[in-house]
C-alpha cells in the first residue's frame, strides 16, 4: 500500500515514461480536487445552515451525505439542458467554463498533502501557481463577453478589475514567505517551517494579507462582485446552465479549497506540527528519524506509512479550519462596492503587503550573518532549531549536512 502510494505520487511505476507520468499526475490532481470539492460544497451548505439557524441538507446519502449530496447535485445539473442564448458567441461561450476550471485543478499539482505526497514537486512551485491563477480571469471575461448579456458583461468587467488588482498583494504576501524560506518549492517551504517553527510567527502578517487578497481572488463575500447575486442577477454566469454552470461552480469551490490549502502550506506549517511531530516520532514512538533524511532530503521509503497518513490528516484538518474561517466570513459580512473593493486593494492592501515585504526582508537580512554561505535562506535559522526537534544533523550543529540548510532537492 505504502509503496504503491509512493509510486503513484511520484509517478515512477510507469517506467519513467514522461507522458504517462504527466497524465498520472494530472489524473491524481483531478481526482483529489473532485473528491475534496464535493466535501467542500457540502460543508459550505452545512456551515452556512449552522450560522443561519437552519439544518442544511439531510436527506441525500444518509451518513455518506457529505459526498453524495454534492454528487447528486452535480448529477442533476448534468441532466439539465445545456442552453446557449441565441445572441451568444458560440465557441467562446462553450470554452469559457473550462478556461476557468482547468487552472483551478492544475494548481493542485503543487500542493504538499504530506511530507512525501506531492502530485508533482515542481522546482518553481509557487511561481507556477501565480502563473496558473492568472488564467481564470480570462475565462470569466470571455464568459461575460460571449453571453451577450449586460449583467454578464458587468460581472466580467468587475471580475477583470478585481482579480488583476488583488493578484499583486497576493503575490507580495507569497513573496514574503518565499523570501524567508528561501525557496519556491512548496514542499521545501513546509519542510523549512517544520524544522524552524518560529519562522511561522514571522509570516503571520503575511497570512492576513494573503487571506484577504485570497478571498478576493476566489471571489467570495465580501468580494463576490463578479457574481453579486443581488446586483447582477448572477454576474458572468447568468446565461449558463447545466454542466457548464456546474463547471464554474466547481472551479469556484475548488479555488476556495486551494487558497485555504495554500495559506496552510505557506504560512501555517502545512502538513507538519511545527516539529512536534518529529519530536514525538523520536521520543514517544522511538522511530529512527535520522534515517528519514539523506543529505537533507526526505527518503519516502524510510518514513512509516502511519506518519505520512498522520501528516496528511494534519494538513486536511488545518486546511478545513482555514476554510471554515473563510465560510464564517462569507456568511457574516455584507458585500463591498466595486470602487470600494479597488480602493481597498490599491490603497490599503498593496501598501500593507509592501510594508510587510520590507519588514520580512529586513528581518531576513538581520538573521543572515555576514558571510553566510547558505544560498537563499538565513543560515542562522539552522542554529535556532528547537533542541531535540530538528533532524540529527542540525541538532548536532552539523550545519553542512542538515536538511534545513538545503531545503531544496539536492
Amino acid at each position: 500500500m505504502d509503496t504503491w502510494l509512493n509510486n503513484l505520487w511520484h509517478g515512477v511505476t510507469l517506467g519513467g515514461n514522461e507522458v504517462m507520468r504527466s497524465l498520472m499526475v494530472a489524473l491524481l490532481s483531478l481526482v483529489i480536487m473532485l473528491v475534496v470539492v464535493l466535501v467542500v460544497i457540502w460543508l459550505e451548505r452545512k456551515v452556512s445552515a449552522d450560522i443561519q439557524n437552519r439544518i442544511g441538507p439531510i436527506r441525500t446519502g444518509g451518513v455518506l451525505g457529505f459526498v453524495l449530496q454534492s454528487l447528486a447535485d452535480a448529477l442533476k445539473l448534468l441532466m439539465k439542458e445545456d442552453l446557449r442564448p441565441a445572441g451568444a458567441d458560440r465557441w467562446p461561450f462553450y470554452i469559457a467554463p473550462y478556461l476557468v476550471f482547468l487552472p483551478a485543478f492544475m494548481a493542485y499539482m503543487i500542493l504538499p498533502f504530506s511530507a512525501t505526497w506531492i502530485p508533482q514537486d515542481v522546482k518553481i512551485g509557487i511561481l507556477y501557481y501565480c502563473a496558473v491563477s492568472a488564467v481564470p480571469v480570462l475565462g470569466i471575461a470571455i464568459a461575460g463577453w460571449a453571453s451577450n448579456n449586460k449583467w454578464s458583461l458587468l460581472g466580467a468587467l468587475r471580475s477583470a478589475a478585481q482579480l488583476v488588482s488583488y493578484e499583486i498583494p497576493l503575490g507580495l504576501a507569497i513573496l514574503a514567505a518565499v523570501l524567508l524560506h528561501g525557496t519556491l518549492e512548496t514542499g521545501a517551504i513546509v519542510r523549512s517551517q517544520w524544522l524552524n517553527p518560529w519562522l511561522t510567527l514571522l509570516t503571520l502578517p503575511a497570512l492576513l494579507i494573503f487571506l484577504t487578497a485570497g478571498l478576493a481572488e476566489v471571489s467570495r463575500t465580501p468580494f463576490d462582485l463578479p457574481e453579486a447575486e443581488s446586483e447582477l442577477v448572477s454576474g458572468f454566469n447568468t446565461e449558463y446552465s447545466g454542466m457548464r454552470f456546474a463547471t464554474f461552480f466547481l472551479a469556484e469551490f475548488s479555488a476556495s479549497f486551494f487558497i485555504s490549502a495554500l495559506a496552510v502550506t505557506l504560512f501555517l506549517g502545512g502538513w507538519s506540527l511545527w516539529g512536534l511531530d518529529l519530536a514525538w516520532a523520536r521520543h514517544v514512538f522511538h522511530w529512527d528519524t535520522a534515517a528519514w533524511f539523506v543529505d537533507g532530503a526526505l527518503v519516502p521509503a524510510a518514513i512509516p506509512f502511519v506518519m505520512k497518513a498522520f501528516w496528511f490528516a494534519v494538513f486536511m484538518v488545518k486546511t478545513f479550519v482555514v476554510l471554515w474561517i473563510l465560510m464564517w466570513v462569507k456568511w457574516t459580512l455584507p458585500r463591498l462596492r466595486i470602487d470600494q473593493v479597488l480602493n481597498f486593494g490599491w490603497k490599503a492592501l498593496l501598501p500593507a503587503a509592501l510594508a510587510n515585504l520590507l519588514l520580512v526582508s529586513l528581518v531576513g537580512a538581520w538573521l543572515q550573518p555576514a558571510g553566510g554561505d547558505t544560498p537563499g535562506r538565513p543560515a542562522v535559522v539552522n542554529a535556532i532549531v528547537l533542541p531535540g526537534v530538528g533532524p540529527p544533523g542540525a541538532a548536532d550543529g552539523d550545519a553542512a549536512g542538515s536538511p534545513a540548510s538545503a531545503p531544496g532537492r539536492p
Binding site: 458587468l154 443581488s230 463591498l336 462596492r337
Partner: protein, 373 residues
C-alpha cells in the same frame, strides 16, 4: 424611453433591471442609463402587478372590499385593513368600542414590527449579508403565528371590521404576545451587532441615496423615508386614530437622509413599536367589553365622502371613499406611500454606482402590490 439617442449619450448603456431581478422586490422594472457602473438616470416602470383594486371596489359592498385591501401592501395587510375601515367608519359616523380600538392598535404595531423585520432582512440581503435575513424571519414567524391564532391567516388577515375587529383574542394570546416582545427586544441587539457597527455595512449605506428634508417633502415622501431626512412627520402623532392618542411613544427621526439614516429610523421604530404593544397588552388585560361596534347589517352610508389616513409601516396610507347612498361605494381611492417613495428614486440614485441602486431601493422599502394596486 431613455435609449441613448443624443450625441451626449455616446458611451452610455441602458440596462433593464427587472422585472425579473433578484433585488427589485417584486415585479418592478428599472430602466438604468449607465456610464460603466455609474447610474446617470433611472426610470421605474411599474404596472406589472396591476389588478384594478380601486375599480373592483366600485362593484363590491363595503364589507366585501376589506379582503381586497389585504392584497395592497401584503406585508402590512393589517394596516391596509385599518386604513380602509377607518374611512368607512368616518363615512358612517360609527363609534368603535374601546377594546376593539386597543386591539387594533396592538395588531397594527405588531404588523409594523413584522413588516420592518422583513424589510431589515431583505435590505441586508440586498447588501449580501444573507444571515440577517434568516434571523429576522425567525422572529417574524412568531408574529405570524400570533396573527394565525388571532384570525386564521398568516399574510392576508381580513381581521379589521367596519366598527371593530373580527374576533377577540383567544385565551393566552396576550401572554404569548408579551413573551414575543421580550424575545424581540433581545434579538434587535443581535441584528444591530451584525450590521450597525460593521464597517462594510456603514460604507455601503452612509452617504448613499441622500435626499434633503425639503426635497423629501416636495416629493411627497412619507414614513421612515421622510423621517430619515429629519422631518418628524407621523400621522400617529399628528392625527391619532384608534388608541394612538393614549399611548406613549417617540417619533424616530434622523438628519442625514441617507440609507443608513433610514435604517436607523426603522430600528428605532421597532423599539417604539415594542413599547406601544406593551402598553396595549397591559391595557387589554384589564379591559372587558365588545370588540364589534353597532354597524348596520347592510352598510349604506349616506351620500358623502370621507378620507382616512394612517401611518402604515411604509408611510402615509390614505383611503378616500365616496358614497352615493347605495351599498357599493362610488369611488375608493388608495393613496400609496410606496408609489410616492418610488418616484424619488431617480433623484436619490443619480451618480451612484449600480450596487447602490440596490441599496437605495432596499432602503425606501417598497411593495409593488400597493404601488400597482
Amino acid at each position: 424611453m431613455i435609449l441613448p439617442a443624443m450625441p451626449e449619450d455616446y458611451g452610455t448603456t441602458v440596462v433593464s433591471m427587472g422585472p425579473q431581478h433578484p433585488s427589485t422586490h417584486g415585479v418592478l422594472r428599472l430602466m438604468l442609463k449607465m456610464d460603466g457602473e455609474t447610474v446617470l438616470r433611472l426610470v421605474p416602470v411599474i404596472g406589472y402587478l396591476h389588478r384594478g383594486t380601486e375599480k373592483l371596489a366600485e362593484s363590491r359592498t363595503y364589507t366585501m372590499i376589506i379582503p381586497y385591501t389585504d392584497r395592497l401592501d401584503y406585508l402590512s395587510a393589517m394596516y391596509m385593513n385599518l386604513g380602509y375601515v377607518l374611512a368607512v367608519e368616518r363615512l358612517l359616523g360609527l363609534e368603535v368600542p374601546e377594546r376593539a380600538r386597543w386591539l387594533r392598535t396592538a395588531v397594527a404595531e405588531l404588523q409594523r414590527l413584522a413588516s420592518h423585520l422583513l424589510w431589515l432582512g431583505s435590505f441586508a440581503l440586498d447588501l449580501a449579508a444573507t444571515t440577517v435575513f434568516l434571523y429576522t424571519f425567525r422572529e417574524r414567524e412568531i408574529i405570524l403565528d400570533l396573527f394565525e391564532t388571532l384570525c386564521g391567516a398568516r399574510l392576508t388577515y381580513n381581521y379589521m371590521r367596519i366598527g371593530g375587529v373580527m374576533a377577540d383574542v383567544p385565551a393566552g394570546w396576550l401572554g404569548r404576545a408579551a413573551d414575543y416582545l421580550d424575545v424581540q427586544e433581545r434579538m434587535l441587539v443581535e441584528y444591530e451587532n451584525l450590521l450597525t457597527g460593521n464597517p462594510i455595512f456603514r460604507a455601503r449605506t452612509e452617504g448613499i441615496g441622500v435626499i434633503s428634508g425639503a426635497d423629501a417633502v416636495n416629493f411627497g415622501l412619507s414614513g421612515p423615508t421622510l423621517r430619515g431626512s429629519g422631518v418628524p412627520y407621523d400621522i400617529r402623532k399628528l392625527e391619532p386614530y384608534d388608541a394612538y392618542g393614549e399611548v406613549e411613544f417617540a417619533v424616530a427621526t434622523r438628519e442625514a437622509g441617507d440609507c443608513f439614516a433610514r435604517y436607523e429610523v426603522r430600528l428605532d421604530e421597532m423599539r417604539e413599536s415594542i413599547k406601544i404593544v406593551r402598553q396595549c397588552l397591559e391595557k387589554l388585560d384589564g379591559l372587558a367589553g365588545e370588540v364589534q361596534g353597532r354597524a348596520p347589517r347592510v352598510i349604506k352610508p349616506a351620500a358623502g365622502e370621507a378620507y382616512a389616513r394612517v401611518e402604515a409601516p411604509r408611510g402615509l396610507f390614505g383611503v378616500f371613499s365616496v358614497s352615493d347612498g347605495t351599498a357599493n361605494p362610488v369611488r375608493v381611492r388608495f393613496r400609496s406611500p410606496s408609489f410616492a417613495n418610488l418616484c424619488a428614486l431617480d433623484h436619490m440614485c443619480r451618480g451612484v454606482k449600480l450596487a447602490d441602486v440596490v441599496a437605495v431601493l432596499g432602503s425606501i422599502d417598497i411593495v409593488l402590490g400597493e404601488i400597482d394596486r
